[in-house]
Symmetry: C2
Subunit: 573 residues, 2 copies
Amino acid sequence: MRASQLLIATLKEVPADAEIVSHQLMLRAGMIRRLTSGLYSWLPIGLRTLRKVERIVREEMDRAGAQEVLMPSVQPAELWQESGRWDQYGDLLLRIRDRHERDYCYGPTHEEVITDLVRKELSSYKQLPSNFYQIQTKFRDETRPRFGVMRSREFIMKDAYSFDVDQAGLQRSYEAMYDAYMRIFTRLGLNFRAVEADNGDIGGSGSHEFQVLADSGEDAVIFSTSSDYAANIEKAEALPAPLGEAPERPAPQEELRLVDTPDARTIAALVEQHGLPIDKTLKTLMVHAAQGGLIALLVRGDHELNEIKAENLAEVATPLTMATEAEIRAAVGAGPGSLGPVGLDMPVIVDRSVALMSDFGAGANVDGKHYFGINWERDVALPKVADLRNVVEGDPSPDGQGTLSIARGIEVGHVFQLGQKYSQAMNATVLDDSGKAAKLWMGCYGIGITRIVAAAIEQNHDDAGIIWPNAIAPFEVVLVPMNAHKSQRVRETAERLYGELKAQGIDVLLDDRDTRPGVKFADQELIGIPHRVVIGDRGLDNGELEYKGRRDNDNTMIAADSLVDFLRERLQG
Amino acid sequence: MRASQLLIATLKEVPADAEIVSHQLMLRAGMIRRLTSGLYSWLPIGLRTLRKVERIVREEMDRAGAQEVLMPSVQPAELWQESGRWDQYGDLLLRIRDRHERDYCYGPTHEEVITDLVRKELSSYKQLPSNFYQIQTKFRDETRPRFGVMRSREFIMKDAYSFDVDQAGLQRSYEAMYDAYMRIFTRLGLNFRAVEADNGDIGGSGSHEFQVLADSGEDAVIFSTSSDYAANIEKAEALPAPLGEAPERPAPQEELRLVDTPDARTIAALVEQHGLPIDKTLKTLMVHAAQGGLIALLVRGDHELNEIKAENLAEVATPLTMATEAEIRAAVGAGPGSLGPVGLDMPVIVDRSVALMSDFGAGANVDGKHYFGINWERDVALPKVADLRNVVEGDPSPDGQGTLSIARGIEVGHVFQLGQKYSQAMNATVLDDSGKAAKLWMGCYGIGITRIVAAAIEQNHDDAGIIWPNAIAPFEVVLVPMNAHKSQRVRETAERLYGELKAQGIDVLLDDRDTRPGVKFADQELIGIPHRVVIGDRGLDNGELEYKGRRDNDNTMIAADSLVDFLRERLQG
């Protein structure tokens, strides 16, 4: 493409309302423009990258045996009512009423539509496994859209849905998608982790998120310093001790004593006012129990309750509901700042770390009083033990190798075993090999196409602008003729090289604009073209061109004759 | 692709609610499925064709220098209020309200959004001409969606918008798009006509429709039997006489006479009861005049008023509004069945054919009475003459070559000179070469991507199913191994040929399903794959394969060695 025929709408200034670097750079590089809150137009340069992302995703989905379909973006309310999500989904669902007063939504996802299609079109286990995907515009009416296309309202997703006759089949379909996702994000040139995620009541390793690592990421990615283990914060298991080592509780050293703590209603106050080490304190959290009434969940003072882990316990009501102060007072006779296990008359579950504590302090279930020097079994029976907390930096890795570290990530993909949730609600069956109707086992697999573009920038940029991986750069190479208006040799060489590179299938931009070289270089670096070749008379005197990779500090002179081979090598790298 | 891994959802029966053949065949071939009224899912086989249409359109738009963008499908009401279309567009516009009670629509078209983008991004004539296009899902809330994807509510359009600094530039941009459209529809393998269409007050040859010729088409396509001239019915000029021949009015033969016609309130009754030839009768139609009051428009009894031509006259109010009976009685003193030019006290415009009539009959502007034997100038002055009627079969062609014929067409594309309509309403300017702000000249160019698929089927089918043009067939070739479970040679040959054809870039389906050959052949013909190659032991004994083109009656034996060349030749044809 010729730059003179391309809308290059670069901006010098950082737009005021863009908070994160990818949003700033996408605006500054002329990739996108805001239409209104959460709605963006993709300009030619941005769309080129978006299409390259789409193509890689499509190729790998096809390779994995998934079939592309295209479902309507507008979906009738009836199907969402059948699955129960019309009421559950809340305001994120953009609801629409047509001229005949019928209700629809702008689909944020397509489980209902594909399940409806599959229950009508597939009738036998012989037609399984089947996996259908689409690359399509979706809408989520975010309360506060922000960060450009990272959290926009209208966005492009690849969503796929697999169908199997049994759980073993679902597991195979899931693994095929997991492998396809690994190939996709590798081909995109991103630094990413596949992290285990929670999948509620399905259990097993039934959900993974694909996280692009970037400091600005909203998610915490937990990973082992010594192995491939990775999980999100909801899922990462907190071990009581390194795998293989027996967790050990120190023997009691102190006496149990009741202490007046009139001003210590928080952990911080307790530590500050009474000199208790924070890892000798307890948080006693009361939530609604599954059987009615309350249940107490205990984590160490320096730990955080993991709400997903708590919710997954049979004893705890779903969704997790914290008790109000009134409910606590009614049950215990004390406020939330003075709770503890000693003398507590209600079901209790303690975190694994809590079970290993000795000589610790906790509320006495009387306002303004704590027990110090508590020891399990001696002062109070050890209740049920479970994994209740978020892991922290330095925890032992659940796979027994090394310790855990925490990084920031941007979720760009998610694979999930839905099980029979939708086939149950919508009665989607096929005949199995014994001729009986079997509810389908379903998986769903999403990739945020538009979000990938932003995530790639968060991970790959410098002060001058974007630094694209080759695979998704809007152009792989830019050719810059110097003083083209004066030098016929430069003009002709540029045109010849432009033709040669195009003929070799290299995606090349010829910067033929009537602008100063400094302006061109700045634009090209802002836009992030990975390879730059300058054609000037000085170099041509020696048959040479000036090459600079986007991450290079200096130019390299290369023989004009070898340009194609030179670039080909760099583009494969 | 292997058929065993493809959703082949063919139907034997014609779906009851599908009225036209393309809708029936798209359902029967498993290309689409209805989600609800006017909303369709594209199944894998249908989507393959859709994507091939998209690719051809994209390639030719790029070749023509247009730049691809992607604007949001959801558009804020403010822009439509600025252009005035929020109120004008009516119920076809699907209106949406978000969680913050702000108004939007699901875009049926993007003139406002692109004009807003361009007024912000382009500042100088040096950035022009510019042409931006997108291929995108749109929505029109049709009162009565029908004919499958031919008139669905959600559909895919290619819409392009050109911007120029002056009208001459617009004319050039328009011609470039016209040429691109000619290439697109030619490459798609369709039998089509580019027909002149009306473009209201812009004038000139500023609008063309691209019509796929098919008997089921909703539009009338007017074309010359001897030249390239083609126009739609609104636009086609009705000449008074063949070009170059002087139109001549026969001399009067009859006396003017007032006749009692108590029961003749229609042309048909007049002809039947009084023996008047229909081409000696007049229709006198009264409409609102631009200056207020009424104006009479006269066409011959056997002709139809062309409302667009009438509306384009300066004397006639816009939009064209027929007078009510009450208005007519108040102005004339007689009812609509007794009107005529003799003694009529109001402005009158007559069609060119009417100006050539003599000895004709018309109402006397008195209920129950007509004048017969009327002659212009002798009995009443000849009023202003204009082209007011639809052409009819056999009319002389406006280009002077041959006569006009009428065919049926399906509109699949439209190019249109908008002029300054939107740049005026939305104040979109650039600086011209004298440094002054100049309103942009705009053109818009649409192609109905989803509709093309249906139109191609309307034009190309037989009793067995669809007959795809090579360029947009879901597969170019199908390989059918016979008795593959018994013959290792057949299996191996099929696999080898499948690999060879794929390696040659031929889009081939290997029908490896465990089904009877008759079922496979019926599916393949229904789906419309243009080339079929059967691999059987009998043929292989002679090193031969059995070939059948979709339109062929008989098989042809071809040497297995020459298959690639043989197909290559047929695929180019």
